[in-house]
Protein backbone atom coordinates (compact mmCIF):
# COMPACT_ATOMS: atom_id res chain seq x y z
CA UNK A 1 0.00 0.00 0.00
CA UNK A 2 0.98 3.69 -0.21
CA UNK A 3 1.72 5.66 2.95
CA UNK A 4 3.35 8.86 4.17
CA UNK A 5 6.63 8.01 5.93
CA UNK A 6 9.00 10.06 8.08
CA UNK A 7 12.69 10.26 7.23
CA UNK A 8 13.97 13.21 9.27
CA UNK A 9 13.50 16.92 9.78
CA UNK A 10 11.30 18.33 6.98
CA UNK A 11 11.68 15.04 5.07
CA UNK A 12 8.49 13.02 4.64
CA UNK A 13 7.75 10.85 1.61
CA UNK A 14 4.88 8.88 0.11
CA UNK A 15 6.18 5.36 -0.38
CA UNK A 16 5.03 1.81 -1.00
CA UNK A 17 5.12 -0.15 2.26
CA UNK A 18 3.84 -3.48 3.63
CA UNK A 19 0.07 -3.98 3.78
CA UNK A 20 -1.30 -4.23 7.31
CA UNK A 21 -3.25 -7.26 8.51
CA UNK A 22 -4.88 -8.74 11.61
CA UNK A 23 -2.30 -9.50 14.32
CA UNK A 24 -4.28 -9.69 17.57
CA UNK A 25 -7.84 -10.99 18.14
CA UNK A 26 -9.34 -7.55 18.87
CA UNK A 27 -7.80 -5.92 15.75
CA UNK A 28 -9.53 -4.53 12.70
CA UNK A 29 -8.07 -3.21 9.45
CA UNK A 30 -9.51 0.04 8.12
CA UNK A 31 -9.42 1.23 4.52
CA UNK A 32 -8.77 4.94 4.97
CA UNK A 33 -11.19 7.30 3.22
CA UNK A 34 -10.06 10.56 4.87
CA UNK A 35 -7.06 11.47 7.02
CA UNK A 36 -5.90 14.87 8.23
CA UNK A 37 -2.57 16.46 9.05
CA UNK A 38 -2.57 17.64 12.67
CA UNK A 39 -0.72 20.63 14.09
CA UNK A 40 1.07 18.14 16.31
CA UNK A 41 2.30 16.31 13.17
CA UNK A 42 4.30 19.47 12.54
CA UNK A 43 6.19 18.79 15.81
CA UNK A 44 7.28 15.49 14.20
CA UNK A 45 7.98 17.25 10.88
CA UNK A 46 10.17 19.75 12.74
CA UNK A 47 11.85 16.87 14.62
CA UNK A 48 10.87 18.05 18.11
CA UNK A 49 9.62 14.66 19.31
CA UNK A 50 12.22 12.05 20.32
CA UNK A 51 12.24 8.35 19.34
CA UNK A 52 11.19 8.70 15.69
CA UNK A 53 12.62 6.15 13.26
CA UNK A 54 13.13 6.41 9.51
CA UNK A 55 10.18 4.84 7.70
CA UNK A 56 7.62 5.47 10.47
CA UNK A 57 4.13 6.00 9.01
CA UNK A 58 2.58 9.22 10.35
CA UNK A 59 -1.02 10.24 10.91
CA UNK A 60 -3.38 9.97 13.86
CA UNK A 61 -6.52 11.61 12.49
CA UNK A 62 -8.26 9.17 10.18
CA UNK A 63 -11.47 7.36 9.31
CA UNK A 64 -12.51 4.74 6.86
CA UNK A 65 -14.24 1.50 6.09
CA UNK A 66 -13.75 -1.75 8.03
CA UNK A 67 -12.24 -4.29 5.62
CA UNK A 68 -10.89 -6.97 7.98
CA UNK A 69 -11.75 -8.00 11.53
CA UNK A 70 -10.16 -10.20 14.17
CA UNK A 71 -12.28 -12.80 16.00
CA UNK A 72 -12.81 -10.49 19.04
CA UNK A 73 -13.55 -7.28 17.12
CA UNK A 74 -17.10 -5.96 17.55
CA UNK A 75 -17.03 -4.10 14.24
CA UNK A 76 -18.69 -5.38 11.08
CA UNK A 77 -17.17 -5.48 7.61
CA UNK A 78 -18.20 -2.45 5.58
CA UNK A 79 -18.98 -0.23 8.57
CA UNK A 80 -17.66 3.33 8.41
CA UNK A 81 -15.75 4.32 11.52
CA UNK A 82 -13.77 7.22 12.95
CA UNK A 83 -10.76 5.99 14.92
CA UNK A 84 -9.56 7.78 18.12
CA UNK A 85 -5.84 8.62 18.05
CA UNK A 86 -5.38 7.10 21.52
CA UNK A 87 -4.96 3.30 21.55
CA UNK A 88 -6.69 2.15 24.74
CA UNK A 89 -7.55 -1.35 25.97
CA UNK A 90 -10.84 -0.45 27.68
CA UNK A 91 -10.21 -2.86 30.54
CA UNK A 92 -7.41 -1.45 32.75
CA UNK A 93 -7.86 0.74 35.84
CA UNK A 94 -7.39 3.98 33.87
CA UNK A 95 -9.77 3.00 31.07
CA UNK A 96 -12.27 2.11 33.83
CA UNK A 97 -12.00 5.73 35.01
CA UNK A 98 -12.43 6.95 31.41
CA UNK A 99 -8.78 8.11 31.39
CA UNK A 100 -8.20 6.47 28.02
CA UNK A 101 -4.97 8.29 27.12
CA UNK A 102 -3.47 6.92 30.35
CA UNK A 103 -4.26 3.31 29.38
CA UNK A 104 -1.76 0.86 30.90
CA UNK A 105 -1.95 -1.71 28.11
CA UNK A 106 -2.07 0.14 24.77
CA UNK A 107 1.68 0.66 24.64
CA UNK A 108 3.86 -2.39 23.87
CA UNK A 109 6.02 -3.65 26.78
CA UNK A 110 9.37 -2.92 25.13
CA UNK A 111 8.33 0.66 24.33
CA UNK A 112 7.34 1.45 27.91
CA UNK A 113 10.93 1.88 29.20
CA UNK A 114 11.42 5.24 27.49
CA UNK A 115 8.11 6.60 28.80
CA UNK A 116 8.94 5.44 32.31
CA UNK A 117 12.29 7.20 32.18
CA UNK A 118 10.90 10.42 30.72
CA UNK A 119 7.55 10.67 32.53
CA UNK A 120 7.65 8.21 35.44
CA UNK A 121 4.87 6.13 33.89
CA UNK A 122 4.01 5.27 30.32
CA UNK A 123 0.95 6.67 28.58
CA UNK A 124 -1.32 4.87 26.11
CA UNK A 125 -0.24 4.01 22.62
CA UNK A 126 -0.94 6.56 19.88
CA UNK A 127 -1.16 6.09 16.12
CA UNK A 128 1.78 7.42 14.10
CA UNK A 129 3.43 9.42 16.84
CA UNK A 130 6.95 8.12 17.62
CA UNK A 131 8.11 5.01 19.43
CA UNK A 132 7.54 6.62 22.82
CA UNK A 133 3.83 6.12 22.15
CA UNK A 134 4.19 2.60 20.82
CA UNK A 135 5.64 2.87 17.34
CA UNK A 136 2.22 2.13 15.79
CA UNK A 137 1.87 2.82 12.07
CA UNK A 138 -0.39 5.82 11.47
CA UNK A 139 -3.35 6.65 9.30
CA UNK A 140 -1.83 8.77 6.52
CA UNK A 141 -1.95 5.60 4.48
CA UNK A 142 -4.33 3.52 2.40
CA UNK A 143 -4.91 1.00 5.20
CA UNK A 144 -4.33 0.89 8.96
CA UNK A 145 -4.27 -1.89 11.53
CA UNK A 146 -6.44 -0.72 14.46
CA UNK A 147 -5.79 -2.54 17.78
CA UNK A 148 -8.61 -2.81 20.37
CA UNK A 149 -11.15 -2.12 17.64
CA UNK A 150 -13.91 -3.13 20.08
CA UNK A 151 -13.11 -0.09 22.26
CA UNK A 152 -11.97 2.85 20.12
CA UNK A 153 -13.68 3.29 16.77
CA UNK A 154 -17.12 4.90 16.60
CA UNK A 155 -19.51 3.80 13.87
CA UNK A 156 -20.79 6.61 11.61
CA UNK A 157 -24.33 6.40 10.21
CA UNK A 158 -24.66 6.14 6.43
CA UNK A 159 -25.13 9.37 4.54
CA UNK A 160 -22.97 11.51 6.83
CA UNK A 161 -20.00 13.06 5.01
CA UNK A 162 -16.45 12.25 6.10
CA UNK A 163 -15.74 15.99 6.41
CA UNK A 164 -18.44 16.33 9.09
CA UNK A 165 -17.08 13.66 11.42
CA UNK A 166 -13.37 13.16 10.66
CA UNK A 167 -12.28 15.51 13.44
CA UNK A 168 -13.85 13.26 16.08
CA UNK A 169 -10.53 11.37 15.82
CA UNK A 170 -8.60 14.03 17.73
CA UNK A 171 -9.03 17.80 17.45
CA UNK A 172 -12.73 18.11 18.25
CA UNK A 173 -12.58 15.97 21.43
CA UNK A 174 -9.29 17.74 22.26
CA UNK A 175 -10.84 21.20 21.98
CA UNK A 176 -13.86 19.96 23.93
CA UNK A 177 -11.76 18.48 26.74
CA UNK A 178 -9.70 21.68 26.87
CA UNK A 179 -12.90 23.61 27.63
CA UNK A 180 -14.27 20.88 29.91
CA UNK A 181 -11.02 21.09 31.93
CA UNK A 182 -11.86 24.74 32.69
CA UNK A 183 -14.89 23.71 34.82
CA UNK A 184 -16.70 26.69 33.33
CA UNK A 185 -19.24 28.45 35.57
CA UNK A 186 -21.89 30.94 34.39
CA UNK A 187 -20.35 34.37 33.85
CA UNK A 188 -16.85 33.02 33.25
CA UNK A 189 -14.39 34.51 30.80
CA UNK A 190 -12.11 32.01 29.05
CA UNK A 191 -8.93 33.04 27.22
CA UNK A 192 -7.58 30.75 24.49
CA UNK A 193 -3.99 30.96 23.26
CA UNK A 194 -3.71 29.70 19.68
CA UNK A 195 -6.47 29.71 17.05
CA UNK A 196 -5.42 26.57 15.29
CA UNK A 197 -8.01 23.79 15.03
CA UNK A 198 -7.84 22.83 18.72
CA UNK A 199 -8.04 26.46 19.81
CA UNK A 200 -11.00 27.14 17.51
CA UNK A 201 -12.84 24.04 18.76
CA UNK A 202 -12.02 25.09 22.33
CA UNK A 203 -13.65 28.49 21.60
CA UNK A 204 -16.82 26.76 20.32
CA UNK A 205 -16.81 24.27 23.19
CA UNK A 206 -16.31 26.94 25.86
CA UNK A 207 -19.43 28.75 24.66
CA UNK A 208 -21.40 25.47 24.52
CA UNK A 209 -20.29 24.73 28.09
CA UNK A 210 -21.62 28.09 29.29
CA UNK A 211 -18.80 30.62 29.09
CA UNK A 212 -20.04 34.21 28.93
CA UNK A 213 -17.01 35.52 27.07
CA UNK A 214 -14.16 33.87 25.17
CA UNK A 215 -11.03 35.80 24.23
CA UNK A 216 -8.91 34.28 21.47
CA UNK A 217 -5.21 35.08 20.95
CA UNK A 218 -3.19 34.49 17.76
CA UNK A 219 -1.24 36.45 15.15
CA UNK A 220 -2.82 35.11 11.95
CA UNK A 221 -5.67 37.35 10.75
CA UNK A 222 -7.53 34.51 9.05
CA UNK A 223 -7.53 32.41 12.22
CA UNK A 224 -8.61 35.34 14.40
CA UNK A 225 -11.44 35.99 11.94
CA UNK A 226 -12.61 32.37 12.35
CA UNK A 227 -12.56 32.74 16.16
CA UNK A 228 -14.62 35.92 15.82
CA UNK A 229 -17.15 34.00 13.74
CA UNK A 230 -17.89 31.84 16.78
CA UNK A 231 -18.36 34.89 19.00
CA UNK A 232 -14.89 35.27 20.49
CA UNK A 233 -13.24 38.61 21.16
CA UNK A 234 -9.76 38.60 19.65
CA UNK A 235 -6.24 39.76 20.47
CA UNK A 236 -3.48 39.88 17.85
CA UNK A 237 -0.28 39.48 19.85
CA UNK A 238 1.77 41.06 17.07
CA UNK A 239 0.10 44.38 17.57
CA UNK A 240 -1.07 44.21 21.19
CA UNK A 241 0.45 43.60 24.61
CA UNK A 242 -1.49 40.47 25.55
CA UNK A 243 -1.04 40.68 29.32
CA UNK A 244 -2.23 44.26 29.47
CA UNK A 245 -5.09 43.65 27.04
CA UNK A 246 -6.38 40.67 29.03
CA UNK A 247 -6.23 42.66 32.26
CA UNK A 248 -8.14 45.56 30.72
CA UNK A 249 -10.70 43.34 28.97
CA UNK A 250 -11.52 41.71 32.30
CA UNK A 251 -11.69 44.83 34.46
CA UNK A 252 -8.32 44.13 36.08
CA UNK A 253 -9.29 40.64 37.23
CA UNK A 254 -7.76 38.34 34.58
CA UNK A 255 -9.57 35.53 32.73
CA UNK A 256 -11.25 32.91 34.94
CA UNK A 257 -9.72 30.17 32.83
CA UNK A 258 -6.80 30.10 30.40
CA UNK A 259 -6.29 27.50 27.68
CA UNK A 260 -2.85 26.96 26.12
CA UNK A 261 -3.73 25.50 22.73
CA UNK A 262 -0.29 26.26 21.36
CA UNK A 263 2.15 23.83 22.94
CA UNK A 264 5.83 23.30 22.61
CA UNK A 265 6.63 25.35 19.52
CA UNK A 266 5.17 28.67 20.63
CA UNK A 267 6.07 31.67 18.54
CA UNK A 268 6.28 35.07 20.12
CA UNK A 269 8.07 38.32 19.94
CA UNK A 270 9.27 38.71 23.51
CA UNK A 271 12.63 38.35 25.19
CA UNK A 272 11.77 35.04 26.90
CA UNK A 273 10.95 33.45 23.55
CA UNK A 274 14.23 34.49 21.94
CA UNK A 275 15.98 33.06 24.99
CA UNK A 276 13.99 29.78 24.58
CA UNK A 277 14.96 29.52 20.92
CA UNK A 278 18.64 29.74 21.82
CA UNK A 279 18.20 27.20 24.63
CA UNK A 280 16.35 24.73 22.41
CA UNK A 281 18.72 25.07 19.48
CA UNK A 282 21.64 24.39 21.83
CA UNK A 283 19.74 21.42 23.41
CA UNK A 284 19.60 23.01 26.88
CA UNK A 285 15.79 22.76 26.88
CA UNK A 286 13.40 20.88 24.59
CA UNK A 287 10.18 22.90 24.57
CA UNK A 288 9.38 26.59 24.04
CA UNK A 289 6.64 27.49 26.51
CA UNK A 290 5.96 31.15 25.75
CA UNK A 291 2.17 30.82 25.54
CA UNK A 292 2.07 28.77 28.73
CA UNK A 293 4.06 31.36 30.69
CA UNK A 294 1.77 34.11 29.46
CA UNK A 295 -1.35 32.09 30.35
CA UNK A 296 -0.12 31.53 33.90
CA UNK A 297 0.73 35.20 34.36
CA UNK A 298 -2.61 36.38 32.91
CA UNK A 299 -4.93 33.99 34.74
CA UNK A 300 -6.97 35.39 37.64
CA UNK A 301 -6.19 34.34 41.21
CA UNK A 302 -7.63 30.90 41.91
CA UNK A 303 -8.36 30.46 38.22
CA UNK A 304 -8.02 27.44 35.99
CA UNK A 305 -5.29 26.56 33.57
CA UNK A 306 -6.04 24.02 30.84
CA UNK A 307 -3.21 22.75 28.62
CA UNK A 308 -4.29 20.80 25.52
CA UNK A 309 -1.15 22.01 23.69
CA UNK A 310 1.45 19.27 23.34
CA UNK A 311 4.66 19.36 25.36
CA UNK A 312 7.24 16.59 25.12
CA UNK A 313 10.07 17.25 27.50
CA UNK A 314 11.41 20.06 29.67
CA UNK A 315 11.00 23.80 29.87
CA UNK A 316 13.10 26.54 31.34
CA UNK A 317 12.04 29.66 33.29
CA UNK A 318 8.69 28.17 34.29
CA UNK A 319 6.72 30.66 36.45
CA UNK A 320 6.08 28.24 39.28
CA UNK A 321 5.80 31.18 41.71
CA UNK A 322 2.82 32.68 39.88
CA UNK A 323 1.22 29.25 39.56
CA UNK A 324 1.54 28.50 43.28
CA UNK A 325 0.98 31.93 44.80
CA UNK A 326 -2.18 32.53 42.74
CA UNK A 327 -3.43 29.03 43.50
CA UNK A 328 -4.18 28.08 39.92
CA UNK A 329 -5.75 24.70 39.17
CA UNK A 330 -4.06 22.89 36.29
CA UNK A 331 -5.71 20.28 34.09
CA UNK A 332 -3.98 18.84 31.08
CA UNK A 333 -3.15 15.63 29.23
CA UNK A 334 -3.55 13.89 25.93
CA UNK A 335 -7.25 13.68 25.16
CA UNK A 336 -9.36 10.84 26.53
CA UNK A 337 -10.93 10.69 23.07
CA UNK A 338 -13.21 7.69 23.64
CA UNK A 339 -14.89 9.43 26.63
CA UNK A 340 -16.77 12.09 24.65
CA UNK A 341 -17.24 10.48 21.24
CA UNK A 342 -20.93 9.52 21.45
CA UNK A 343 -21.96 12.93 22.82
CA UNK A 344 -19.90 14.82 20.24
CA UNK A 345 -21.19 12.70 17.35
CA UNK A 346 -24.74 13.48 18.49
CA UNK A 347 -23.90 17.19 18.68
CA UNK A 348 -22.62 17.05 15.08
CA UNK A 349 -25.67 15.14 13.81
CA UNK A 350 -27.96 17.61 15.62
CA UNK A 351 -26.17 20.52 13.94
CA UNK A 352 -24.90 21.97 17.24
CA UNK A 353 -21.25 21.66 16.24
CA UNK A 354 -19.89 22.30 12.74
CA UNK A 355 -16.33 21.29 11.97
CA UNK A 356 -16.30 21.54 8.18
CA UNK A 357 -15.47 25.28 8.20
CA UNK A 358 -11.93 24.33 9.19
CA UNK A 359 -10.99 22.41 6.04
CA UNK A 360 -9.07 24.68 3.67
CA UNK A 361 -7.45 22.00 1.51
CA UNK A 362 -8.42 18.56 0.22
CA UNK A 363 -5.51 16.74 -1.42
CA UNK A 364 -4.68 13.21 -2.62
CA UNK A 365 -2.58 11.04 -0.28
CA UNK A 366 0.04 11.00 -3.02
CA UNK A 367 0.53 14.75 -2.45
CA UNK A 368 1.02 14.37 1.32
CA UNK A 369 4.66 15.53 1.32
CA UNK A 370 3.68 18.77 -0.45
CA UNK A 371 0.78 19.12 1.95
CA UNK A 372 3.12 19.06 4.97
CA UNK A 373 5.27 21.77 3.42
CA UNK A 374 2.22 23.89 2.62
CA UNK A 375 0.77 23.46 6.13
CA UNK A 376 4.12 24.35 7.71
CA UNK A 377 4.80 27.41 5.59
CA UNK A 378 1.38 28.98 5.14
CA UNK A 379 -0.40 28.59 8.44
CA UNK A 380 -2.62 31.62 7.96
CA UNK A 381 -4.21 30.34 4.75
CA UNK A 382 -3.92 26.61 5.41
CA UNK A 383 -6.14 25.90 8.42
CA UNK A 384 -6.53 22.17 7.80
CA UNK A 385 -5.47 19.71 5.12
CA UNK A 386 -7.50 16.54 4.58
CA UNK A 387 -5.81 13.82 2.56
CA UNK A 388 -7.94 11.42 0.54
CA UNK A 389 -6.35 8.18 -0.64
CA UNK A 390 -7.50 7.48 -4.17
CA UNK A 391 -8.42 11.08 -4.89
CA UNK A 392 -7.17 12.28 -8.27
CA UNK A 393 -5.13 15.48 -8.14
CA UNK A 394 -7.03 18.48 -9.43
Amino acid sequence: MRALTWHGKHDVRVETVDDPGIVNPRDAVIKVTSTAICGSDLHLYDNYIPSMMKGDILGHEFMGEVVEIGPKSTLKLGERVVVPFTIACGSCYHCGKQQFSACDNGNPAENQDAGEKLYGQTMSGLFGYSHLTGGYAGGQAEYVRVPFSDVGPIVIPDGVDDDKVLFLSDILPTGWMAAENCDIAPGDTVAVWGCGPVGLFAVQSAFLLGAERVIAIDHFDNRLALAKRFGAETINYKTTDVAMALRELTGGVGPDACIDAVGLEAHGLTADNVYDQIKVSSFMATDRPHALRQAIMACRKGGKLSIPGVYGGFVDKFPIGALMEKGLQVKTGQTHVQRNLPALLTAILDGKIDTTFLISHRMPLEAAAEAYKLFKEEQDRVTKVVLKPGMVAA
Binding site: D18, D19, P20, G21, I22, V23, N24, P25, R26, K72, I87, C89, G90, S91, C92, Y93, G96, D104, N105, G106, N107, P108, A109, E110, N111, Q112, D113, G125, H131, G134, G135, Y136, A137, R145, P147, F148
Partner: protein, 189 residues
Protein backbone atom coordinates in the same frame (compact mmCIF):
# COMPACT_ATOMS: atom_id res chain seq x y z
CA UNK B 1 20.92 -2.10 56.66
CA UNK B 2 20.90 1.07 58.78
CA UNK B 3 17.67 2.42 57.35
CA UNK B 4 15.39 -0.60 57.74
CA UNK B 5 13.62 0.92 60.75
CA UNK B 6 12.50 4.00 58.81
CA UNK B 7 12.31 2.71 55.24
CA UNK B 8 9.29 0.65 54.24
CA UNK B 9 10.38 0.01 50.67
CA UNK B 10 10.81 -3.48 49.16
CA UNK B 11 14.39 -4.72 49.53
CA UNK B 12 15.03 -4.75 45.78
CA UNK B 13 14.45 -0.99 45.46
CA UNK B 14 17.25 -0.14 47.92
CA UNK B 15 20.56 1.12 46.61
CA UNK B 16 22.15 -2.13 47.80
CA UNK B 17 19.21 -4.07 46.34
CA UNK B 18 21.00 -7.36 45.60
CA UNK B 19 22.38 -7.72 49.12
CA UNK B 20 19.24 -6.42 50.85
CA UNK B 21 17.03 -8.85 48.94
CA UNK B 22 19.33 -11.76 49.72
CA UNK B 23 19.33 -10.81 53.41
CA UNK B 24 15.54 -10.57 53.37
CA UNK B 25 15.54 -14.21 52.29
CA UNK B 26 13.98 -13.52 48.86
CA UNK B 27 16.98 -14.66 46.83
CA UNK B 28 20.63 -15.48 47.33
CA UNK B 29 22.37 -15.04 44.02
CA UNK B 30 24.50 -12.43 42.30
CA UNK B 31 21.78 -10.57 40.53
CA UNK B 32 18.33 -9.96 41.88
CA UNK B 33 15.44 -8.05 40.51
CA UNK B 34 11.95 -7.50 41.81
CA UNK B 35 9.17 -5.71 39.97
CA UNK B 36 5.49 -5.16 40.69
CA UNK B 37 2.48 -4.55 38.50
CA UNK B 38 -1.19 -4.13 39.38
CA UNK B 39 -3.58 -6.18 37.26
CA UNK B 40 -7.33 -5.75 37.50
CA UNK B 41 -8.08 -9.47 37.66
CA UNK B 42 -8.62 -11.63 40.77
CA UNK B 43 -5.53 -13.18 42.39
CA UNK B 44 -6.91 -16.72 41.94
CA UNK B 45 -7.16 -16.31 38.16
CA UNK B 46 -3.63 -14.88 37.87
CA UNK B 47 -2.19 -17.57 40.15
CA UNK B 48 -3.89 -20.33 38.11
CA UNK B 49 -2.51 -19.05 34.83
CA UNK B 50 1.05 -18.69 36.16
CA UNK B 51 1.01 -22.01 38.02
CA UNK B 52 0.60 -23.81 34.68
CA UNK B 53 4.21 -23.32 33.52
CA UNK B 54 3.12 -24.18 29.96
CA UNK B 55 1.72 -20.63 29.89
CA UNK B 56 4.94 -18.80 30.79
CA UNK B 57 6.43 -18.69 27.25
CA UNK B 58 3.30 -16.78 26.15
CA UNK B 59 4.59 -13.66 27.93
CA UNK B 60 8.25 -14.38 28.83
CA UNK B 61 10.15 -13.34 25.73
CA UNK B 62 13.37 -15.27 26.30
CA UNK B 63 11.85 -18.68 26.87
CA UNK B 64 11.95 -20.99 23.90
CA UNK B 65 9.92 -23.77 25.50
CA UNK B 66 8.96 -25.18 28.89
CA UNK B 67 8.20 -28.90 29.18
CA UNK B 68 6.19 -29.68 32.29
CA UNK B 69 7.50 -32.96 33.70
CA UNK B 70 5.27 -33.44 36.73
CA UNK B 71 3.39 -31.35 39.31
CA UNK B 72 6.54 -29.67 40.60
CA UNK B 73 9.19 -30.14 37.89
CA UNK B 74 9.60 -28.51 34.50
CA UNK B 75 12.40 -28.28 31.93
CA UNK B 76 13.13 -24.79 30.58
CA UNK B 77 14.94 -23.90 27.34
CA UNK B 78 15.93 -20.24 27.22
CA UNK B 79 17.54 -17.94 24.62
CA UNK B 80 21.04 -16.81 25.49
CA UNK B 81 23.34 -14.22 23.88
CA UNK B 82 25.07 -15.22 20.65
CA UNK B 83 22.26 -17.38 19.27
CA UNK B 84 22.83 -19.98 21.98
CA UNK B 85 20.32 -21.70 24.19
CA UNK B 86 20.67 -22.60 27.85
CA UNK B 87 18.49 -24.94 29.89
CA UNK B 88 17.63 -25.95 33.39
CA UNK B 89 15.17 -28.00 35.38
CA UNK B 90 12.99 -25.98 37.71
CA UNK B 91 11.47 -27.36 40.86
CA UNK B 92 8.58 -25.63 42.60
CA UNK B 93 9.81 -25.07 46.16
CA UNK B 94 6.86 -23.17 47.57
CA UNK B 95 3.26 -23.17 46.44
CA UNK B 96 0.50 -21.27 48.26
CA UNK B 97 -2.64 -21.32 46.10
CA UNK B 98 -3.76 -17.82 44.98
CA UNK B 99 -0.83 -16.26 46.87
CA UNK B 100 2.65 -17.39 45.96
CA UNK B 101 4.75 -19.60 43.69
CA UNK B 102 8.52 -20.04 44.13
CA UNK B 103 10.90 -22.20 42.10
CA UNK B 104 14.57 -23.14 41.91
CA UNK B 105 16.36 -23.82 38.62
CA UNK B 106 19.37 -26.14 38.33
CA UNK B 107 21.26 -26.59 35.09
CA UNK B 108 23.34 -24.32 32.85
CA UNK B 109 22.46 -21.39 35.07
CA UNK B 110 21.46 -21.57 38.72
CA UNK B 111 18.47 -19.37 39.32
CA UNK B 112 15.37 -18.86 41.40
CA UNK B 113 12.05 -17.19 40.84
CA UNK B 114 9.29 -16.08 43.13
CA UNK B 115 5.96 -14.52 42.23
CA UNK B 116 3.53 -13.18 44.81
CA UNK B 117 -0.11 -12.25 44.28
CA UNK B 118 -1.60 -9.76 46.76
CA UNK B 119 -5.22 -8.64 46.73
CA UNK B 120 -5.56 -4.93 45.89
CA UNK B 121 -9.32 -4.59 46.33
CA UNK B 122 -11.12 -2.82 43.53
CA UNK B 123 -7.83 -2.38 41.64
CA UNK B 124 -7.32 -6.12 41.31
CA UNK B 125 -4.09 -7.83 42.32
CA UNK B 126 -0.52 -6.65 42.92
CA UNK B 127 1.89 -9.11 41.31
CA UNK B 128 5.53 -9.00 42.43
CA UNK B 129 8.13 -11.11 40.67
CA UNK B 130 11.61 -11.60 42.14
CA UNK B 131 14.23 -13.22 39.91
CA UNK B 132 17.65 -14.24 41.25
CA UNK B 133 20.31 -15.89 39.14
CA UNK B 134 24.00 -16.62 38.62
CA UNK B 135 24.78 -14.78 35.39
CA UNK B 136 26.41 -16.87 32.65
CA UNK B 137 30.16 -16.38 32.81
CA UNK B 138 30.02 -14.03 35.81
CA UNK B 139 30.53 -10.32 35.17
CA UNK B 140 31.45 -10.82 31.53
CA UNK B 141 28.26 -12.76 30.94
CA UNK B 142 26.25 -9.97 32.47
CA UNK B 143 27.89 -7.44 30.17
CA UNK B 144 27.12 -9.57 27.13
CA UNK B 145 23.56 -10.03 28.33
CA UNK B 146 23.21 -6.27 28.66
CA UNK B 147 24.43 -5.73 25.10
CA UNK B 148 21.75 -8.10 23.87
CA UNK B 149 19.05 -6.29 25.89
CA UNK B 150 18.51 -9.48 27.86
CA UNK B 151 19.57 -7.87 31.10
CA UNK B 152 17.36 -9.64 33.62
CA UNK B 153 15.94 -6.52 35.30
CA UNK B 154 14.80 -5.13 31.94
CA UNK B 155 13.53 -8.48 30.73
CA UNK B 156 11.62 -9.17 33.96
CA UNK B 157 9.92 -5.77 33.71
CA UNK B 158 8.92 -6.44 30.10
CA UNK B 159 7.70 -9.96 30.94
CA UNK B 160 5.52 -8.64 33.77
CA UNK B 161 4.02 -5.95 31.53
CA UNK B 162 3.20 -8.59 28.92
CA UNK B 163 1.64 -10.78 31.65
CA UNK B 164 -0.52 -7.84 32.67
CA UNK B 165 -1.56 -7.12 29.07
CA UNK B 166 -2.42 -10.75 28.41
CA UNK B 167 -4.43 -11.15 31.62
CA UNK B 168 -6.26 -7.81 31.37
CA UNK B 169 -6.92 -7.62 27.62
CA UNK B 170 -6.51 -11.16 26.30
CA UNK B 171 -3.66 -10.12 24.01
CA UNK B 172 -0.17 -8.61 24.02
CA UNK B 173 0.19 -5.13 22.52
CA UNK B 174 2.43 -4.91 19.45
CA UNK B 175 3.08 -2.23 16.84
CA UNK B 176 3.60 -4.93 14.18
CA UNK B 177 1.52 -4.11 11.10
CA UNK B 178 0.96 -7.74 10.18
CA UNK B 179 1.87 -11.28 11.23
CA UNK B 180 5.07 -11.36 9.15
CA UNK B 181 6.35 -8.26 10.98
CA UNK B 182 5.36 -9.76 14.33
CA UNK B 183 7.42 -12.88 13.66
CA UNK B 184 10.40 -10.74 12.51
CA UNK B 185 10.16 -8.62 15.68
CA UNK B 186 10.02 -11.67 17.91
CA UNK B 187 13.01 -13.28 16.21
CA UNK B 188 15.13 -10.16 16.47
CA UNK B 189 14.30 -9.66 20.15
Amino acid sequence: MASTMTDDTPAATRRDGDRATAEAGQGARDSVTARSVTINRPAAELYRFWRDFNNLPKFMADIVVIDVVDATHSRWTVKAPGDREVGWTAEVTEDQPDRLIAWEGRGDIRNSGRVEFRDAGARGTIVTATIAYDPPGGALGKLVAKLFRREPAVQAAHDLRRFKQLMATGEIATPAMNLAQLIDDEESR
